[in-house]
Structures are given as structure tokens and as C-alpha cells.
């Protein structure tokens, strides 16, 4: 309902739910406040926003009082002014005037308001409160004396992050903010408290007294750390990114960041960055070179292989952290210049095993709905995914859903950071998730919790019924180690909710047999009619930043840009015409096949951009051996990684902060990221290097002036991106597919592009159930009876974060997490060393007991040198490779 009110003599029509504070800001009237924050509920504690409201005797807080029709508000009277000056005087009694050394100086609300309203004199003649303080964390600094008790940090930690690591203790002027019992801070390091603090009471320790805030220039960019695609601000000066700040109200994250996004960007400044090209000389050592030498070496050596053995002998793997422009030129370079379809990214296995299930079942090649819709989920299934780690900002949206009363069920082999807040966490052994999901289908069928009429046109309904007949609920509950009531309650909630969504992650989908699980989830969604409408999404979720963009750009052995199959002669010809070049017609090798081919000599040369397979690819030592066998290896990188050390040529690239471009997040949102600083030394953006290699090889059509020009070509070549431009992406990007209207920037309900696919449910031709036969996915292997989940940590999401000094202060070593029961069974103590053995390899690692894991399930992070998890991952064909879930046995060392 809209209401009309008057503020300072100006009339305004606003939504009746708004507070006076927001209504005033629509009129451009700024009412000062300390405790109010756009992401927080009302508090009304700082009393800075007091205003006069006609008919109300006392001054009223503008941040808590809702507008009403006919309300008359004044913010400019002597009474209001006196109250404001009084509040500032009160706050300054105890606030130390140490702006000279305070990191918040220049962006401190107290400083600004005191400057604006306050008197230069104080009437206070007493003694300031001085509180004893101590360091609570290696990354977050607290200064109790600067604190003005606005409680924003405490509230944001609770209301947004759901962690409640901070609280208030003691009373009155002695009130202090801190961790429970004033112990060390034990939290997710999301940085929300730093963002929320209006003064310098909570600041980044990593930034302590490094630079003055007003000297920093801010550039809006997209975080390179995961597929959320958060908007952040690089703060830079003198060509150095000094810190990251939160972009209030911008992007899908509305300013929020996570530990990686906020603290992990110090990688940009790491002293070990490669600044010059390097070429291996005749004596076998890598030495600095000019770009001319490096480029001509790459062009000529790859050219020789292409001429001699054909494009098939060349392979290229690029990181999915690169921009769309980078990736587009990478595949164009490989295809057009070197005639090879051996093109892939680390997330290629996901794109080929998981996404085709969605394409087959629903005709889509992406998450169906928007992240934003998770905020309002009434029922949510999260299967095999630690959402807080894999997709932190999606996790925040899930937490908002919980705040709103949404029912969240986790089905996972281990408890996660979300479990404390979720309705229930079903700790189901890996491989048994399918049984649980089929249990849900069984309950929906048995209790007829579905709409019969809506299912009239669906095929294979009886087959679906048949596949869940075999076991009763008691048996299902026993096999999956859960309670019957939990299966029933989850099914009823899911079927009964108007907005019910499914998120699944790597542990679910990339386990052997994972596609069965995805099919069962889609069956459940179809059966309950929870597909396509607002709030009823299916979210395949992996962390890889631009995994969606990589697929869209055609970085894969089997698909051209725009997901077009390489086997389609028509599509290939069209592209050949546009590119004025001949394209290889046969499907290429995927990343795993390339490593195997390098190993047996079929592949002669490789181009690796931004990836470190020696550290991350299945096989471990085998990968290094394979790469060593190549005639020629070029690595384009930020650091001299384990892989780069094997290269014949190393090309110095720039991270996201050093380039313009676009990225596509997990909800199909194409977003612009902007160059904050120039690369130092001889570094260049990846797209520019690919372009230069192409030009050096003497091929037409590889010359581009800037990233915008590459995007223009993307807009012509990729149907989904047709019409895209920097101009249209200026405001929080847009979600493909989009229409001509979108291109004219016509917003529908605040959105550009397609908020959710499948507007009318599954396409008619796809309305059929699969009906998965089995009850479990992972076949037991008596030789390797345990399952090891290899995943990310909250503070580390890949080999790149290992270069973050800040994040390394939180975690820098891997241990093997194990359920104590499992430990006792193996006679292995907490803290002792074990040998972990898989079909691929083995290593020794320290055990940490954790009650979070299902018995027989182990967990370890993928990225630490002390325990190279990838040496256990099984290198095989994609359908048999074990990359996220590995069968192992553990032996006492």
C-alpha cells in the first residue's frame, strides 16, 4: 500500500512498509544514523536519527517508525538538531580521538557526523572509559574503546551470516563486543562485521595502518573465487590493490562477501607473482625472456606440432577462473590457429557428466532459477553440497530462507556449517543419498502428495511407481541410516511448499553413479510440480568461478561456443564462415584423456592457462610424468607453480583485478568486471596473450584492441549472448537468455534477462519420468571400503588461495577428517598419522576426529602441499574417474 506523507515540507508517496528514514532518503533528505544498516532489522538504539513527527510528543527514531498516510515529519528543527548534537557529544565522551592512527578515518560515520553537526568543543571534563583489550584474531582487529555499541557487527553476524560469533557483554558504558567469554574469534571470517562497523572498532588486521582510506580509488569488479559472481570493490593506489571493500547494494551479493572474497585478494600483490615471460634455454633452465621471444617460441613450436602431427597432437586446458573473453579466445586459438578440439577446463567433467542430464531431462544447460529466489524458499533440499563453502553467498540466501521459516533439509555425508541452522541434516553415507531421495518419492506417491491432473501428460509414471515399490520406508530408513519420520517430514514439506527448490553439489553428482541421483531429484521435482515456477529451482552448484561461461564460450572438446555440438556440420560451417577459418571436425579429448594421451605419447604439446594440474588433477605424480613427456609445454600463469616449473615457456598473466572482461555466474548472469590496476612488469591479461599468440602465428582474425572488441565477437558467435555489450551490463549484468527488449534495457520487475528458465514447467516433449532402478549409487569395493570426500574449505577454494597470506593464517595444512567411531574401528587415534591408499596412489596424513562425518566417510581438502589429495584421485575415463569422491582404505602408519 502506498501512503503520502510530508517530510520537511516536501510531499512524497512511498510504500507503507517503509520507515521514515528510507522515505526521507527518497526525497534526498539524509537522516544521520549509526545503528541502522540496510541489511539489518530495526534496533533504534543509537538515537541519532530522531525526528519530530506531528502529533507525537517525543522525538521518534526514523529508523524504526513506519510511515503512515498524512504523517508530517520534520528533520530540520532546533529540537532535532539539539538531539543530534547531544548524541554526538555523548558518543564522543568515550570515543578516543585517535583518528590520526585509525584505519577507519575517512570513512567513519562518527567522524563525518561530528564534522557536520558537532561542536568543536566538548563539555566533558571527566575521565574517558578505558577498556582492557586484546587481540582476538589474526585477521580481524577489535578496538573496544572505539566501539559505539551500535551492535551492527553482532547483528550482521547473526541476522545475515547466521554465525553469532560476536555478542555483547557487560552493561552500560562498560558494554563490550566480543566472542563468547572473550575467547579467540571462532568464525567464518565473512568480513560482515568489518563492513558493518561504522567506526574503527572492527577493522581488517591485514590492512592495519597500511594506507589512508581517502587515498584509495575504488573499482567495481567481480570476485574470481567462486561461481556466485559477487560484486566487490578493489581499492587501489599506485597500481597496487591495497584492500577490498563491500559494494553496498550492488550485485547478487548486495555488498556481502566471504572470507575468500574479502581476505583472499592479497594474492594479487604476492611477491612471487611472475612478472616476465620465461623460456627454457638449451641448458634446460627457465630464464627471463622478451615477449617477442616467448610468443614466437610458442607460435612456432605449437605450429611445428600442428604441421607435423596435426592439431590432434595439441591440447589446451584453461582455468574456468578466466573471463569469457579469455576463454573465448583460448578456444578460438586452439581451434582456428592450431586446428585442435582438445580443449577443456577443470570443470569440464561437470559440464559433460552433470549438465547433459539437465539438458536431456529439461532442455536446459544451467541452473533453472536465480540465486535470489533462494531467499524465499519454503522448502529446500541440499544434496551433497556444503553450500557455505561451495557457494557462500547462495548460503546466505539459504540462511535468509531459514530466517523466514523455510524448511531446509541437508542430505550429505557430513554435517556442514549450515547444519546448525538447517531444519534437519541427514548424515547419509556416500552412495546412499539416492535411497533417501527415492524414499521421498515413495512418500509423495503413497500419500498422494502430488497433483494428478497436472501429471496427466507425463510418461512413465507407472515405471516411477514401480521403482519405489521394492522397499518399504523402514528398510529405506535403515539402509540410509535415518529415521522414517525424517523421510516423511521432508517429503511432506517439499510437496506442500509453494516454493521448493533443490541444490546439489559435487559430492552428490561427481560420485560414481551420480547421474542416477540427479535423475531421481528431477523425478521428485517433476512429480511434485516443483520445476520452473518462481522459487522452484534446480541448482547444480560447483565453486568454479566461470564454469558456466566456459561452457557458453565453447571451451570443451565436444561443443562449440553456444553449446553447439561439434558434430553438427551446419553449426560448424556457420562458425567457419564467421571466423573465415577451417575448424577441426572431430571431437577432441577431454582433460583427463589429454593427460593419458600425453602419458602414452599421443599428445605432443600442451597449452595450460591458469591451471596447475600437477597439484589438482587426478593422478598426482602421474600427471607430472605425463607433462614431462610432452615435446612442448606452455604454461600461462600468475605464479611459478609445480606445473609451470615443468614448462618450456611460461607466460606471465594477470589476475581479475588487472583486466576488463565478463564472467557468467551460476545463475547465468553475465557480469562485467573492470580493470582496477595495470599489470606490473611485463604481465598481460590472458585474452591479450592468446590474441598475441594467434597474431604471432600469422593467423588472420586473432587481433583485438581490447576486451570489449572480444565481447562484440562473442555477441555475434554465441546465440545466448547475442546483443550483449558493456553498456547493457553496466548495472548488475543480465541473465541469459535475453530478448531484444532486454537489449534496450527494459527492466521487468527490476530484472534484465531471464530470471528463471522453464516458465511453464518442463517442456512438453520432456515430460517423462526416468524412474531410477537401484537404491544406491556407489558400488562397494572391498579393497577400498571407505569413501573419501575431497572438497574445498571455507578459507581455501583452490590452489590459487594457497598464495593468500591472510587465508594461510587461518588454515595452511590439510588433515584427514574421520569419524571417531571409524577411528576406533581402525585403532587410529585423533592426531596420529595414517596411510591413505586409493587405486591411484597413497600418502600419509594426520587424522583429526570429527563427529560431523558419517561412519566410514572421510574428508580432506584438495589444495595443500602436505597432503596432495589429487594423488589419490583416480585418473580414468570421465565416467569412472574419481575426483570428488574417492574410494580408499586407511592403514595405520
Amino acid at each position: 500500500m502506498m501512503v503520502r506523507l510530508e517530510i520537511d515540507g516536501k510531499q512524497v508517496m512511498v510504500d507503507g512498509h517503509l520507515k521514515i528514514l528510507d522515505a526521507a532518503s527518497k526525497l534526498g533528505i539524509h537522516i544521520p544514523t549509526f545503528c541502522d544498516h540496510p541489511r539489518l532489522g530495526e534496533l533504534g538504539a543509537c538515537r541519532m536519527c530522531l525526528v519530530e513527527v506531528e502529533g507525537m510528543g517525543k522525538l521518534q527514531t526514523a529508523c524504526t517508525l513506519a510511515v503512515a498516510d498524512g504523517m508530517v515529519v520534520r528533520t530540520d528543527t532546533p529540537r532535532v538538531d539539539h538531539a543530534r548534537r547531544m548524541m554526538l557529544e555523548f558518543l564522543l565522551i568515550n570515543h578516543p580521538l585517535e583518528c590520526t592512527v585509525c584505519d577507519a578515518s575517512g570513512e567513519c560515520t562518527l567522524q563525518d557526523l561530528a564534522f557536520q553537526h558537532g561542536s568543536a568543543e566538548t563539555r566533558f571534563r571527566g575521565k574517558k572509559r578505558v577498556l582492557r583489550d586484546h587481540i582476538i584474531s589474526p585477521l580481524i582487529d577489535r578496538n573496544l574503546n572505539r566501539c559505539i555499541q551500535c551492535k551492527r557487527c553482532v547483528r550482521i553476524c547473526d541476522e545475515v551470516q547466521g554465525v553469532t560469533a560476536l555478542g555483547m557483554s557487560y552493561r552500560g558504558a562498560a558494554t563490550v563486543v566480543g566472542p563468547f567469554m572473550d575467547k579467540d574469534l571462532d568464525c567464518e571470517y565473512c568480513s560482515h562485521c568489518i563492513w558493518a562497523c561504522p567506526v574503527g572498532a572492527i577493522t581488517s588486521r591485514a590492512m592495519k595502518q597500511k594506507v589512508r582510506t581517502w587515498e584509495l580509488e575504488k573499482t567495481e569488479a567481480i570476485c574470481p573465487y567462486c561461481s556466485c559472481g559477487c560484486t566487490l570493490l578493489y581499492n587501489h593506489r599506485d597500481n597496487i590493490v591495497h584492500r577490498v571493500t563491500h559494494a553496498q547494494g550492488r550485485g547478487i551479493n548486495l555488498g556481502s562477501l566471504c572470507s575468500r572474497g574479502y581476505f583472499g585478494q592479497d594474492v594479487i600483490n604476492h611477491p612471487d607473482r611472475i612478472r616476465v615471460p620465461m623460456v627454457r634455454d638449451s641448458s634446460g633452465t627457465l630464464r627471463a625472456s622478451t615477449w617477442e621471444e616467448a610468443l614466437s617460441t610458442v607460435a612456432s613450436r605449437l605450429g611445428q606440432v600442428a604441421d607435423g602431427d596435426g592439431g590432434k597432437a595439441i591440447g589446451g586446458i584453461a582455468s574456468d577462473r578466466l573471463t569469457n573473453e579469455d576463454l573465448f579466445l583460448f578456444q578460438k586459438l586452439l581451434r582456428v590457429v592450431f586446428g585442435s578440439n582438445n580443449i577443456d577446463t577443470p570443470s569440464g567433467i561437470w559440464s559433460r557428466t552433470v549438465m547433459p542430464v539437465l539438458e536431456d531431462r529439461l532442455g536446459v544447460f544451467a541452473a533453472t532459477n536465480s540465486m535470489d529466489e533462494l531467499n524465499y524458499a519454503e522448502a529446500l533440499l541440499i544434496v551433497g553440497c556444503d553450500i557455505t563453502v561451495t557457494s557462500p553467498i547462495s548460503g546466505l540466501k539459504v540462511k535468509q530462507a531459514i530466517h523466514r521459516g523455510g524448511q531446509v533439509t541437508e542430505i550429505n555425508a557430513r554435517r556442514t556449517a549450515l547444519s546448525r541452522l538447517a531444519t534437519r541434516t541427514m548424515v547419509v553415507p556416500v552412495g546412499q543419498e539416492l535411497g533417501f531421495v527415492k524414499g521421498l518419492i515413495k512418500v509423495v506417491l503413497d500419500e498422494e502428495l502430488y497433483d494428478k491432473e497436472a501429471l496427466a501428460g507425463y510418461e512413465r509414471f507407472s515405471e516411477l511407481e514401480y521403482t519405489v515399490k521394492g522397499r518399504d520406508l523402514t528398510a529405506i530408513a535403515r539402509d540410509t541410516d535415518v529415521k522414517v519420520e525424517d523421510i516423511e517430514a521432508t517429503a511432506r514439506e517439499f510437496a506442500g511448499a509453494r516454493k521448493a527448490a533443490v541444490i546439489f553439489g559435487e559430492t552428490a553428482a561427481l560420485q560414481p553413479g551420480g547421474t542416477d541421483l540427479i535423475n531421481a531429484l528431477i523425478d521428485l521435482q517433476m512429480l511434485t510440480g516443483k520445476l520452473g515456477q518462481e522459487g522452484c529451482g534446480l541448482y547444480p552448484t560447483i565453486a568454479n568461478t566461470n564454469a558456466q561461461g566456459a561452457v557458453d564460450m565453447g571451451v570443451g572438446p565436444d561443443r562449440l561456443p553456444g553449446h553447439l555440438p561439434i558434430s553438427s556440420q551446419k553449426d560448424r560451417k556457420a562458425l567457419e564462415k564467421r571466423w573465415k577459418a577451417k575448424l577441426p571436425a572431430d571431437g577432441g579429448m577431454n582433460a583427463l584423456e589429454m593427460i593419458q594421451a600425453a602419458s602414452d605419447g599421443r599428445l605432443k604439446a600442451m597449452y595450460l592457462a591458469g591451471i596447475n594440474p600437477v597439484d589438482t588433477f587426478p593422478g598426482g605424480r602421474v600427471v607430472a610424468e605425463a607433462l614431462t613427456k610432452l615435446d612442448f609445454l606452455v604454461v600461462q600463469e600468475l605464479f611459478l607453480t609445480e606445473t609451470a616449473l615443468l614448462a618450456d615457456v611460461v607466460l606471465p598473466a594477470g589476475p581479475t583485478a588487472e583486466k576488463d572482461g565478463t564472467m557468467t555466474n551460476l545463475e547465468r548472469r553475465v557480469q562485467r568486471t573492470r580493470k582496477a590496476i595495470e599489470g606490473t612488469g611485463l604481465t598481460m591479461p590472458d585474452w591479450k596473450i592468446f590474441s598475441d599468440v594467434g597474431v604471432t602465428a600469422g593467423v588472420q582474425g586473432m587481433k583485438y584492441v581490447n576486451a570489449a572488441e572480444v565481447l562484440e565477437e562473442i555477441a555475434e558467435s554465441v546465440s545466448y549472448y547475442s546483443g550483449i555489450s558493456h553498456r547493457i551490463l553496466a548495472d548488475n549484468g543480465l541473465q541469459w537468455p535475453f530478448s531484444k527488449e532486454d537489449a534496450r534495457e527494459v527492466y521487468h520487475e527490476g530484472y534484465l534477462g531471464t530470471r528463471h528458465l522453464l516458465e511453464d514447467g518442463p517442456p512438453e516433449a520432456k515430460r517423462r519420468f526416468v524412474g531410477v532402478e537401484g537404491w544406491e549409487t556407489l558400488n562397494p569395493d572391498s579393497k577400498y571400503p571407505m569413501t573419501l570426500i575431497i572438497g574445498d574449505l571455507l578459507f581455501h577454494s583452490g590452489s590459487y588461495t594457497r598464495y593468500s597470506e591472510s587465508l594461510n593464517k587461518l588454515v595452511s595444512e590439510a588433515t584427514l577428517l574421520m569419524n571417531p567411531q571409524t577411528g576406533i574401528g581402525l585403532d587410529v587415534q585423533d592426531g596420529s598419522t595414517v596411510r591413505t591408499v586409493s587405486a591411484q596412489g597413497e600418502f600419509s596424513v594426520t587424522v583429526t576426529y570429527s563427529d560431523d562425518l558419517a561412519p566410514g566417510v572421510l574428508f580432506m581438502p584438495r589444495h595443500f602441499a602436505n597432503a596432495p589429495a589429487n594423488s589419490l584421485m583416480v585418473l580414468a575415463n570421465e565416467d569412472e574417474a574419481e575426483t570428488s569422491v574417492v574410494r580408499v582404505r586407511v592403514v595405520k602408519a
Binding site: 555523548f90 571527566g126 555499541q149 555478542g167 555483547m168 558504558a173
Partner: protein
């Protein structure tokens, strides 16, 4: 007239048998068997009973609001967090007549449709808490509480919750926060607890004394109760009289008794026959009355008209030996210590005025300090989040107004300084 204190002089008064002797648990069956919930509320409305916690809000109206809210479960909370300095009247009821409180709560529960009751008792009353718990057990055994009370189909269960020592938790919304396991700090009002209270559900919060008045009202009728005391403030009131009187204690008198009558006819006059100097009629947070105001009636309206307040009826009396500046300092020190810290003016402002008072007592004050004090007090009163912040400076403002000379004496050096402030507090 003994209504609230009718049972306290019996032997073993807290025992249920003592309570039953004198019409105990007769109002509850009458309400359950003979009256609809609406009729119970009407009776309390007719009585014009006003809340005895300090605000004086009509109890019947509060019950009516809660009864109209359709959301369940609803709660009755007995506010037994008697924390105002100088107040000790609830303690008498809790320790000597707990069943009167329980019966009142059960009737309130029936009237508004609540199934659960909490007694939030201050942590410093461990004996009271034990007595209440024993009384609850006795009442449950006799089916005056618990499931299906007296075969009426009405369920009402009472739990005792002990506070942890914060003054602010006597404020009803802070009390609810504390009861929910959170930090005791006031909530924004509206919404009021009658609609959004404990667990965000409809909740009636009544003072001990208010609830103890309910059973007599049901038995004898609202009209009878309304005929006692003054028209605006009917009934009897428990006055906690302390300080320099001959017989400090709890006195039950009809509302509207004058300060003079209370001191000189009931509390035995002034100690050692010394002259009366001042009284804080409504506890530590009320404005003081001086000798010229001895004939002010001690009820909600009369005291408000005199610029003070009845509060919980804690009458603190001072004779001519009292140092008003020191007395003000002691009271202010209490509010500084008890400020919950939520809002700026109460947290920082009271910290500041206490420091100014310290300076004055140490002989470091100047006349300008009094204007500064009044300006700060005005700031605190007009901008604080809750009533406790607003009221915390009443002693300062009223003593500067009525006893300015005593402040000036410190400033002119005609008063001995260097008192041990810590001992004074």
C-alpha cells in the same frame, strides 16, 4: 484495610492450607465454573485495577487486548523482578502469600486464553523462588494448576524463572528477552507484548501485586474494589517505606493516602523525631518531594501532577541529616551501573552526569555544572530508548530544582568534601 496482606500474619502463611482457610482458591473455581473469560475480563475492567509495576496501565484493558489476539499459545508473565531500589513489597507477597499470586495468574490465564505462565523472579530472591516452586507443586497436587484444572478442561502450567541480576529486566520487554535466553534489553514498542511478547506470541505481563489483587476482585466484584481508594486509582496499594522513619516496612493502604499520613500515622513518624526533609515517593527513579509537598496524595495521578511518580510505591524518606547531593550521587551511581547499554543517551549520558556529580562532591564543581547537568538530563530524558533511561535522571533534576543550595554549598566550599564515594554507594 487488608486485602493483599490478609494472609501474611497467619502461621505458616505460604502453605496452601493456610491460604485455603481464608477464601483461598475460591475465585478460580468461580471464574472457571460460573464465568466466561469475557466476564472475568469485564469484572477486572469494572474494578479499574491499574498495574502496580509502575506504569499504572489498566489491567482489564491489557487482558482484553491479549484475549482478542487469536494466535496461540499465549502467556501470562508475573513480573517478580522487583529491582527498583527501595521496593520490597512484592517480596512480602511472594514469601508470605504465594498462592494469591498463582491464583491470580490462573484466572488471568483463563481470561485471556493462556496455557502457560512464567514467574520471572529476581535472582536476589532465592528464598522467594523456592517458596513459589513449592506453592506451584502444592497447587498442582490439588488441581488448582496443571492439566484440566478442577475438571474444568482448562490447563494452566506455571514455571519459575530466576533473573540474573539486571535492573532492566524489570522492564517488561527486557524481561521477555531475558526469558527467551537473550541479553536483557528493551524492545521497540509497538508492537506491545499483548500481541508480540514471549516467542513473539500474545503475552500479558503483570506485576506480582496486580495479580495478587485479582482473586479478591473476582470474589467480591469489580464494583467493590473500585469503591476503595480514589476514583482514578482504586484499590489498596502496598507502600514500601524506607529511610529515616521510625518504622520502615510494607504498608497496605487505600490509594490516595497522603505522604504525611503514611509517614506520621502509619510509619511511626520520623526517626528520633527529626524534621522531614525530602522523600522519593516512587523509588530511585522518581523526582523527590520536599516538605511543602507532604500533603500530596500517593497515587498515580496526584504524583504525576506533582511532577513525580508513584512507580512501584517505594517511598524513601530522608530527614535533615541527609545530604541531597550525596543521595543523588548514590542513586545515579545505581543507574550508571544498571544502564543496559543499548541506547546512547542512557549509556553515555548517565556515565557523564555521574562523573559531574563525583566532581561536585570532591569539591571540583562550579555553578555552571548545574546548567550542564540539567542540559544533559534533558537530553537523556527526551531521547532515551526506554522508560528506565528517561527516569534515571529524575533525582538529579528534582534535587537541583528543590535543593540547589546544597549543590552550591559544595561549590562554594562551605560543605565538607572528600567523602568516601565508594562507601557512599
Amino acid at each position: 484495610m487488608k486485602i493483599l496482606t490478609r494472609n501474611i500474619d497467619r502461621p505458616n502463611p505460604a502453605h496452601i492450607d493456610s491460604y485455603l482457610v481464608n477464601e483461598g482458591y475460591m475465585a478460580l473455581p468461580r471464574a472457571l465454573n460460573d464465568m466466561t473469560p469475557e466476564e472475568v475480563i469485564d469484572e477486572v475492567r469494572f474494578s479499574r485495577l491499574r498495574g502496580r509495576g509502575g506504569a499504572g496501565f489498566p489491567a482489564g484493558m491489557k487482558w482484553d487486548f491479549a484475549s482478542r489476539d487469536r494466535r496461540t499459545p499465549k502467556y501470562i508473565i508475573c513480573n517478580a523482578d522487583e529491582g527498583e531500589p527501595g521496593t520490597f513489597k512484592d517480596r512480602v507477597l511472594i514469601e508470605k502469600d504465594p498462592h494469591a499470586i498463582l491464583e491470580g495468574m490462573a484466572i488471568a490465564g483463563y481470561a485471556v486464553g493462556a496455557e502457560y505462565g512464567f514467574i520471572y523472579i529476581r535472582g536476589e530472591y532465592p528464598v522467594g523462588a523456592r517458596i513459589l516452586e513449592r506453592a506451584i507443586a502444592e497447587a498442582e497436587q490439588r488441581s488448582f494448576l496443571g492439566k484440566n484444572i478442577l475438571n474444568s478442561g482448562f490447563d494452566f502450567t506455571i514455571m519459575v524463572h530466576r533473573g540474573a541480576g539486571a535492573y532492566i529486566c524489570g522492564e517488561e520487554t527486557a524481561l521477555i528477552e531475558s526469558l527467551e535466553g537473550k541479553r536483557g534489553q528493551s524492545r521497540i514498542r509497538p508492537p506491545f507484548p499483548v500481541n508480540v511478547g514471549y516467542s513473539n506470541l500474545p503475552t500479558v505481563v503483570n506485576n506480582v501485586e496486580t495479580l495478587a489483587s485479582v482473586a479478591p476482585i473476582i470474589l467480591r466484584g469489580g464494583a467493590w474494589y473500585a469503591s476503595i481508594g480514589t476514583h482514578e486509582c482504586p484499590g489498596t496499594k502496598l507502600y514500601s517505606v524506607s529511610g529515616h522513619v521510625a518504622k520502615p516496612g510494607v504498608y497496605e493502604l487505600p490509594m490516595g493516602v497522603t505522604l504525611r499520613e503514611l509517614i506520621f500515622e502509619h510509619a511511626g513518624g520520623m526517626r528520633e523525631g527529626r524534621p522531614f526533609k525530602a522523600a522519593f515517593p516512587g523509588g530511585a527513579s522518581s523526582a523527590c518531594l520536599d516538605e511543602s509537598e507532604l500533603d500530596v496524595a500517593l497515587d498515580f495521578n496526584s504524583l504525576a501532577a506533582a511532577g513525580s511518580m508513584l512507580g512501584s510505591g517505594a517511598v524513601m524518606v530522608l530527614d535533615d541529616t541527609a545530604d541531597m547531593v550525596e543521595a543523588t550521587y548514590v542513586l545515579t551511581k545505581f543507574f550508571e551501573h544498571e544502564s543496559c547499554g543499548k541506547c546512547t543517551p542512557c549509556r553515555e549520558g548517565v556515565f557523564w552526569v555521574r562523573q559531574i556529580l563525583s566532581a561536585i562532591l570532591e569539591g571540583k564543581g562550579s555553578e555552571g555544572d548545574l546548567d550542564l547537568l540539567l542540559d544533559i538530563c534533558d537530553g537523556i530524558q527526551s531521547t532515551s530508548f526506554c522508560g528506565l533511561g528517561e527516569a534515571s535522571v529524575n533525582p538529579i533534576v528534582s534535587t537541583i530544582k528543590k535543593f540547589r543550595g546544597e549543590y552550591l554549598a559544595y561549590m562554594k566550599g562551605s560543605r565538607e568534601t572528600g567523602n568516601d564515594l565508594e562507601a557512599a554507594s
